[in-house]
Symmetry: C3
Subunit: 362 residues, 3 copies
Amino acid sequence: MKIHEIQAYLEQYFENVELVGSGDVTIDGPAKIENATKGTVSFVANEKYSRFVGTTKASLLIVGEETNTSQYNDHLNFLKVKDPYTAFVFVLQKYTRPRLIAAPGVASSAVIGEHVELGENVSIGEHTVIGDECVIGDNTVIGSNSVLMAHVRTGRDCTLFPHVVCYNGIILGDRVTIHSGTVVGADGFGFAPQPDGSYIKIPQMGIVEIDDDVEIGANNTIDRATMGSTVIEKGVKIDNLVQIGHNCTIGENTVIVSQAGISGSVSVGKHCMIGGQAGFSGHLSLPDRTRVSARAGVTKSAAKPGQTLGGFPAQPLRDQLRQEALLRGLDKMKRKLDALEEEFNKSQSSKDQKSKRVTSKR
Amino acid sequence: MKIHEIQAYLEQYFENVELVGSGDVTIDGPAKIENATKGTVSFVANEKYSRFVGTTKASLLIVGEETNTSQYNDHLNFLKVKDPYTAFVFVLQKYTRPRLIAAPGVASSAVIGEHVELGENVSIGEHTVIGDECVIGDNTVIGSNSVLMAHVRTGRDCTLFPHVVCYNGIILGDRVTIHSGTVVGADGFGFAPQPDGSYIKIPQMGIVEIDDDVEIGANNTIDRATMGSTVIEKGVKIDNLVQIGHNCTIGENTVIVSQAGISGSVSVGKHCMIGGQAGFSGHLSLPDRTRVSARAGVTKSAAKPGQTLGGFPAQPLRDQLRQEALLRGLDKMKRKLDALEEEFNKSQSSKDQKSKRVTSKR
Amino acid sequence: MKIHEIQAYLEQYFENVELVGSGDVTIDGPAKIENATKGTVSFVANEKYSRFVGTTKASLLIVGEETNTSQYNDHLNFLKVKDPYTAFVFVLQKYTRPRLIAAPGVASSAVIGEHVELGENVSIGEHTVIGDECVIGDNTVIGSNSVLMAHVRTGRDCTLFPHVVCYNGIILGDRVTIHSGTVVGADGFGFAPQPDGSYIKIPQMGIVEIDDDVEIGANNTIDRATMGSTVIEKGVKIDNLVQIGHNCTIGENTVIVSQAGISGSVSVGKHCMIGGQAGFSGHLSLPDRTRVSARAGVTKSAAKPGQTLGGFPAQPLRDQLRQEALLRGLDKMKRKLDALEEEFNKSQSSKDQKSKRVTSKR
């Protein structure tokens, strides 16, 4: 692709895409600025990387509109845009070779249940099992060795990688992506303790609803509700090895990083950010735009939207930072206390001695 | 099902089931009390929910024996029992539609090894692979795309959901349930360090034994023993994404919540409760009825049964609460120390001035 | 196998293997020293276990070269070697029955893509799917129900247990072992935030490279790089349920224990040891021979090789131990402060009273 073609492509997304240099140079693919070679495109969105501009071997850099590009040498061409990071992501998408997740149509080794509705252009991989009365939307691709139990419904343009399991009754919206090893809709963890110390199982009769544009990573577990639905709202992004308990609701465009664990009946607001290895007690709710730091342990609901919570038990960032400062200062505090005690004792004993002297004078 | 039928059904489990209202009303299914509709059954087991009794649209409530039901309006009927929560769980079980995990018999795409013994009424799902010399008990159901390597033995009435893997030699009792993505019997993590910094693998020759009535959630890993057995005793319940290391023993009716990690050779007593994301050092033991709080890190054995352990390193609850109170009080403590130091310095300097005055008087 | 055969076998690995007792006794298999029976072999590598030597029923013990074996009774024979632990591991390997992971050749239900190169003596399990243009090295075994997407390359003598997924383009070295449920090469977690709060996906165009002699446990997730490679170097050992983010490099012979989470673009040095449930912030690097304690949270790079880091935020062991000691001493510190305050107030009030007396005298 030539630089002027990249420019034209980006003009679909950005109002102004200014070319500095030649539009006629061929770009073979993207690269990181620090190890880019001739014929590649890279970007600078962050001051930290601007030091590489003088030395990069890239033939094209995507940079911010304000960037001064006058001092650089001739082999380097620039496209200036408002958001060079997002522009580069679009360029990455352009250069990405499509992955074959399953060949078009239904693989001959796949097993399709009764009364299944397959949309147009559906691809079902080898040995995949689609249960009775499933509905698969147009253009949806389901990788090999996956299992959809009965009554699963997917929207259009979904991508399920190989080895995904959806239990019965799960509902997926449009453009949902699920990576390998993820289990959607296994039973919520509910058992009623009995007087003899044993447990009886609480049937998990609900489902999981996953809305449009959700992407779910590998080896996650998203449990079905006891009654009603576990809900993953539109645009949510989930990393790997995350646990979402029964009856949770994860709000629109919330991001959950790897190994976080969300206990049952938790409600997370929209546009939240849940850090890696964070944990939640059950039955609590977080308002919109809450940020939970990595490894934080959230033990109670928060009311104010937009806070950052950290630590265990999690508290607002300011409180947590003060707490951490106090902990760091503990050594100094101990020394101060010991010194003060010593000083005080000295002053007391000198007073005592004075008193004694006084006494002895009597 | 009519209310008097529900009453008769519950009388199998409870000595007294008292009906207040009409037994002739038809109940279509269960619901949460706060969003129940006409024709549903709900319950009150907890004071917190009794505020909904006046407004619920449910047609039947299961309540405690002591509940005063006189003031409520006509559409509401009651069944009074000793344990309304457990009674409601039985009602849930009654209304749960059976899930088809695998069709009766052996699916034509399943691959059954040599010398396999299949009990009566066994169901083996599509593309499931049963290794040589496995023994599958009566009424056991194994979902699609599962793999049992050689010499696996299951008891009767087991349920393995799709995508379960049992390595060779694993033994399951009766009524064991395993959810999708769980791997039972992968090699324990054992490597002997060599002088050059590399490792040689310690063969993991043991097995995993899972006793009757155990339920294991999704995407867990339960490793085989180096020698002997990793043992999950009768009635244990395990959530999702839990790690159980080689040579562990998990005692009867113990419950382990999501993302807990139990290192090798740990012995957990009976009737214990292990919180989510808790972790264990290896080679330690906990006595019966120990409760490990969520995210606790247990670093040594405990001797006294029935304790609650929390924090990292985990300590008895009382110690942990005192520690937490001390931490919360750190700010106050620092201010007190600073104030005391200031007062002391003031008192010293005033003494010094007095001394000076005295001195100057000389 | 007779003892003199075990002796001869160990002489392949050790310069001196001294027999004390009879070489003609038959050994049926290995056992733990504390519950060994007649005809078994066990070992003592650790003082802690030498107390069992007098009572063990084992017929052969592998012990250190310095061990005094004169006082023990006749049924017990000894092989003395420099490293009895490693020697016993070799004996375990000798007695381990080979596991059948997949029958030789390509199972009839396996699906092999176009232009696939299969080496000699390859075994491909039932229902396993090998994508187009994969290359599988000699003697490599791939268990049932696994999926290799297109362009995966394995070296020779690899072992993939059932239910392994390798995404497109993954490269494995020789003698790589991967356990069930592990997903190699799913997309790294990268999304570019948009002004409306939604995200666009950053294509993950890179791969994962896994070098020779790596062993990876069950249900791990190792993400592909955004550009370039996620690299697992030679000899690395990974336990279960571990997350390795995109663009990480894990150095030679590093060991990672269960449920650790390594964020994107982290570089871990060679011969490191990462404890269970440890976590890492992104974009940091650790030098060779770093030890990260269980549950530590590493938030910044370290420069000095060979350190032990613990706590959250992780700090060098000495600092962490001091910090923990301060925390344990907090109760005492509080009591000391309260006592000092009381003493000081007493001393002040007595002074005030004296002053008052003085005053009143005027």
